[in-house]
């Protein structure tokens, strides 16, 4: 059962139980977001675990994870609510077929804009959530949406209420826990940032990454986990186009587990490099220049 954390340490313990190992910064941001009821804006490289955090939070609170994936051109009808026009048209047709007289026009209109024709999109579902547990609203990759959408988001997030002209105002009984992620392909507007607590999610340090790999990859032994984490850490120092994130480390660990590898050597690295590095140039760089550094890191681990 979810209870409000009293210290950032409570957050750390609770999230660890859900399979997410936060560092001090994340634990503190989540603690403040929960206690102060503020949205949490997470920025960081792809694959550092921003979306995972939201998922872990939802399984911690026991509430629904309501996800709004942003993309260019997203607007209120996809984020908030939309009327089910096809059914409305059908309803009009039916009314006509069974012969509704002109005096019933107003009643017909009321019927058309009633709850049964309302399609609830993520924001409305999060605000009108009537479950027991605290829901988590994940607004993913907000930088992909247009600036105008941010202004709209700001309005919804500042008082957690939504007005549907035909139905009235819906206010959240318990405001959801809001997590907003951005990959920083453009700057999120200051006004939105100001509403939020902010955390820049960095790559985890070696020990934490070893723990993460052991937690997320079934049956991996500690030696291999440590070698994988050390190799990835070394890769991040090579100045690659896309330094691997935690997600790649876990993928790699899983791949090695499937292959039955127990010790990481040059041949295995070369064979499985595609799970960690997704640019040809990066792979070349590792096989040509970086392999010695990586092997040294593995031996030191």
């Amino acid at each position: 059962m979810f209870s409000h954390p009293a210290t950032p340490d409570d957050v750390r313990v609770a999230l660890a139980e859900q399979g997410y190992l936060p560092d001090d910064g994340i634990a503190m941001s989540v603690f403040l977001a929960v206690t102060m009821g503020r949205p949490l804006l997470l920025e960081g490289d792809a694959g550092v675990g921003k979306t995972e955090l939201a998922k872990a939070l939802a399984s911690w609170t026991g509430g629904e994870l309501i996800r709004l994936q942003c993309y260019e051109g997203i607007d209120a009808t996809q984020a908030l609510y939309e009327w089910d026009y096809t059914r409305q048209l059908l309803h009009l047709r039916t009314a006509e077929a069974i012969g509704v007289s002109a005096t019933d026009g107003a009643a017909l209109e009321d019927e058309l804009y009633s709850d049964r024709f309302l399609i609830r999109r993520p924001l409305l579902r999060a605000i009108g959530y009537d479950g027991e547990a605290l829901p988590v609203l994940l607004i993913d990759e907000v930088d992909r949406a247009d600036d105008e959408f941010e202004a709209f988001l700001l309005e919804v997030l500042s008082d957690y209420s939504v007005t549907v002209p035909e139905l009235g105002t819906i206010t959240a009984a318990t405001p959801p826990l809001v997590v907003i992620t951005s990959n920083r392909t453009r700057d999120v507007h200051d006004a939105l940032k100001r509403r939020c607590l902010y955390h820049w999610v960095a790559h985890p340090d070696l020990d934490r990454e070893v723990e993460i790999v052991r937690l997320r990859v079934d049956g991996i032994d500690e030696i291999l986990a440590r070698q994988v984490a050390a190799a990835v850490a070394a890769m991040r120092d090579l100045g690659l186009y896309k330094p691997p994130g935690v997600a790649e480390t876990i993928d790699w660990g899983t791949a090695l587990g499937k292959l039955g590898t127990s010790i990481l050597d040059e041949t295995t690295i070369a064979a499985t490099l595609g799970t960690v590095l997704k640019y040809r140039e990066d792979q070349d760089r590792v096989t040509e220049v970086g392999i010695d550094m990586i092997m040294a890191a593995i031996e030191g681990a």
Binding site: L89, E96, H199
Partner: protein, 385 residues
């Protein structure tokens, strides 16, 4: 200033509530150039009241979550934190505070006549200058290197009149369409149907909208570009102010994002700011290196994707040509159009022999001049086309 806060912290820590500490810390942060709005300070106060100020890590992370909004501010935050909360030495701070004034002005002939009295000098040259003023046509074609300060000032004013329109691309946003398309607009159809007693007589349609492409300006401010940098940053300023979705960076010595400085503040201050952050001015041009930084941190992640990217540089690079070539290729792969502006191109007999320029050229869509106001006007057209 940090001193104010510093003297007050030690004794007051005993009796002041978290509020005063928080406000004091916010002032130190602002002193090192981090923008901290009041609402963030209130958040910090609220966080501190819950957590207390007795644990270093709590205060540190609470401050980071509530006061910051940009990863670029992390270093400044760490320094300010060390000074304010841990009373460590302020050496790191003083470097940041006074902007180093590096004169990027061209050598105007007036400067060489040894007259120490600046005002008298300007008076003496007044009449000649006025003649030049009226001769706008000549001025427009004049190389920035040969312009006097007054002429440059006049050109800077002219740059405000440059027209920047945007190249557009199809957007995913749907807008109501007049003509029939393949996307019915059910919302409008239903609303209209209500007016005709529930009979959908007229069908409505939607079509995709068009959006402006992002424009990214990469301005080389290394030593060899000095004579042009000041004029070109004015050009960047005019672009940032003149249209939406523009990003500006300085490259050459160190990658610095100057979009924010250019939107509101004095463009000269922006250039000075960029210059001040350069540690080794004479260390030579690192075009390939800074381009790489741009690609890694901004470009390939999204800023340059589908954008019109303009590199303003003379192509002098002290690094390896392979690196520059590789990074230009990488940039070219994600951009819509890659334009290189070289102020030296107009020189009679110019050939792109500088190693950097030769390496970059195969990956450039358009190679244009940028030495005078007229050439910049043409550049504005190229960007808009």
């Amino acid at each position: 200033m940090p001193e104010v806060a510093l003297t007050s912290t030690a004794e007051e820590a005993m009796r002041t509530p978290a509020e005063r500490m928080a406000v004091g810390f916010a002032r130190v942060l602002r002193g090192v150039g981090v923008s901290v709005p009041v609402s963030r300070v209130t958040n910090f106060v609220e966080a501190l009241t819950r957590l207390g100020i007795d644990q270093r890590d709590h205060v540190y992370w609470a401050g980071r979550s509530t006061l910051l909004g940009d990863p670029e501010d992390l270093t400044a935050y760490d320094r300010a934190f060390a000074v304010f909360w841990e009373h460590r030495s302020a050496t790191g701070l003083s470097v940041q505070l006074p902007p180093i004034t590096i004169t990027l002005a061209t050598d105007a002939p007036e400067d060489d006549d040894g007259d120490p009295d600046g005002d008298g000098q300007r008076e003496a040259h007044g009449p000649t200058l006025r003649v030049r003023y009226s001769d706008v046509e000549t001025l427009r074609e004049k190389d920035f290197v040969q312009c006097s300060d007054a002429e440059l000032a006049e050109l800077h004013r002219l740059m405000g009149s440059l027209k920047f329109t945007s190249t557009t691309r199809p957007s995913r946003r749907l807008v109501p369409a007049r003509k029939r398309t393949r996307r019915p607009d059910l919302a409008r159809t239903v609303r209209r149907a209500l007016a005709t007693g529930g009979e959908p007589i007229r069908r409505e349609f939607r079509a995709t909208d068009r959006r402006p492409r992002r424009l990214v300006l990469l301005l080389d401010v290394s030593g060899s570009m000095e004579p042009y940098a000041r004029a070109l940053i004015r050009f960047a300023h005019a672009a940032v102010v003149g249209r939406t979705r523009v990003e500006a960076f300085t490259i050459g010595t160190r990658l610095t994002r100057v979009t924010r400085e250019l939107t509101s503040r004095d463009p000269d201050a922006a250039l000075r700011g960029a210059a001040a952050s350069v540690q080794d001015w004479s260390g030579g041009t690192r075009l390939g290196q800074t381009l790489r930084e741009f690609n890694d941190q901004w470009g390939v992640r999204g800023h340059a994707r589908g954008a019109v990217v303009v590199v303003l540089s003379d192509g002098w690079d002290r690094g390896t040509p392979e690196l520059l070539s590789e990074q230009m290729e990488r940039l070219h792969r994600v951009t819509y159009r890659l334009v290189w502006v070289n102020p030296l191109k107009h020189t009679p007999g110019y050939a792109p022999l500088a190693r950097g320029m030769a390496a970059a050229l195969p990956h450039v869509d358009e190679f244009v001049e940028g030495h005078s106001f007229d050439s910049l006007t043409r550049l504005a057209e190229v960007i808009s086309a």
